[in-house]
Subunit: 213 residues, 2 copies
């Protein structure tokens, strides 16, 4: 019996524009290659803050921002995704990220994540509001109240903080970022195929040091 | 007789790491789609300077820089290109850019551009030195002395300044950038295929205003 291929880690932030098309296609693209996805919500705010940014680089650097919105429009059109430039950008995805981090292994999690991106980038909803996050949970078939309450617990807050710290330690500086089983980073929606094509190697356990098998 | 498909503009900067694999493959990729390439050398220094950077963002933001070098290594390995991290980064490509801008339509220009990238990113040569630029001209089959002299003329200096100003007006903020005949920008080596796939439309001359033909 062969072991299943190890999953691809998908690191995403709910305010990140290019994470939107990535979240919508990552599961399908992985499945086509016999792979599964581990969903890793994190926050870019602390990472950006550590390098001196207190806003999205797409707001700080207007030429880059103008390009990104046009590019996102093209990508969403090609992927058949609705896209309406949010009236507020970036939106605060803290609560949604706490929910996502606390429920990362739940089977309904991908549907919730997609609902949040759809709310932010297609329906111009204020995803920082608990009522909107609740709607997204309901769209994923879940009762919202207990999940929102759990997401505000100290444990859930600490889990998201720890996950963001792990992102920093992995060298993640933007979203989406794909991390392969052997720790290679691929940054950007347009690099998903490269991440999935990255050669899976035998686990280092059991290999002889320096040996060729 | 059908007119040839309009060319793709390739905007590059000699210090730009991702411009290296792009320069090495842009002509081949375009040719496979029946397209030609217009080579547009420009300088990122003034564009970065205008947004408050006096160094490469890959030096200013270390996590992004570490990722980029690893990513460039992977891309070059996949493309069969030599890559040796330059002992100095970024290097000043001013003279080489003046030569490239003044000779943009010469048939040897692509070979010269590729020789400069090879010098910088494969052979760790100091491309700011006239002797190294001269070698690159010789590798492209040209006598170097008159071309270097012409590149230092007021006209050649003004031409590169004007080209960099045009880049800014087009909304270019990084390199490589591909510009389609109808003015769409695609930023990054990994977007070359998207730029070539961008639908060519009929020229607006001859179309009725607002009409559907």
């Amino acid at each position: 019996m062969t072991e299943p291929a190890p999953p691809l880690e998908f690191w995403f932030e709910f305010a990140s524009t290019y994470s939107y098309p990535a979240a919508m296609r990552v599961e399908r693209a992985a499945r086509e290659r016999g792979r599964s996805v581990v969903w890793r919500a994190f926050l870019l705010g602390p990472i950006f803050g550590a390098q001196g940014w207190n806003d999205s680089p797409f707001n700080i650097y207007p030429a880059k921002g103008a390009y990104m919105w046009r590019d996102l429009e093209r990508i969403c059109a090609a992927d058949g995704l609705a896209m309406n430039r949010p009236s507020r950008f970036p939106r605060n995805g803290l609560l949604a990220a706490r929910v996502a981090c606390a429920n990362a292994a739940e089977p309904w999690l991908p549907a919730f994540v997609r609902a949040v991106y759809d709310a932010n980038f297609a329906r111009d909803r204020e995803i920082s509001e608990p009522a909107v996050v609740a709607e997204c949970l309901e769209r994923a078939g879940q009762g919202a109240a207990p999940l929102l309450e759990a997401a505000q617990s100290d444990a859930a807050k600490a889990a998201l903080r720890a996950q963001t710290e792990r992102a920093t330690k992995l060298g993640i500086f933007g979203a989406p970022t794909f991390v392969t089983p052997d720790g290679e980073l691929f940054w950007g929606n347009d690099r998903l195929e490269d991440a999935l094509a990255w050669p899976l190697r035998a686990p280092s356990r059991g290999r002889r040091a320096g040996g060729s098998v």
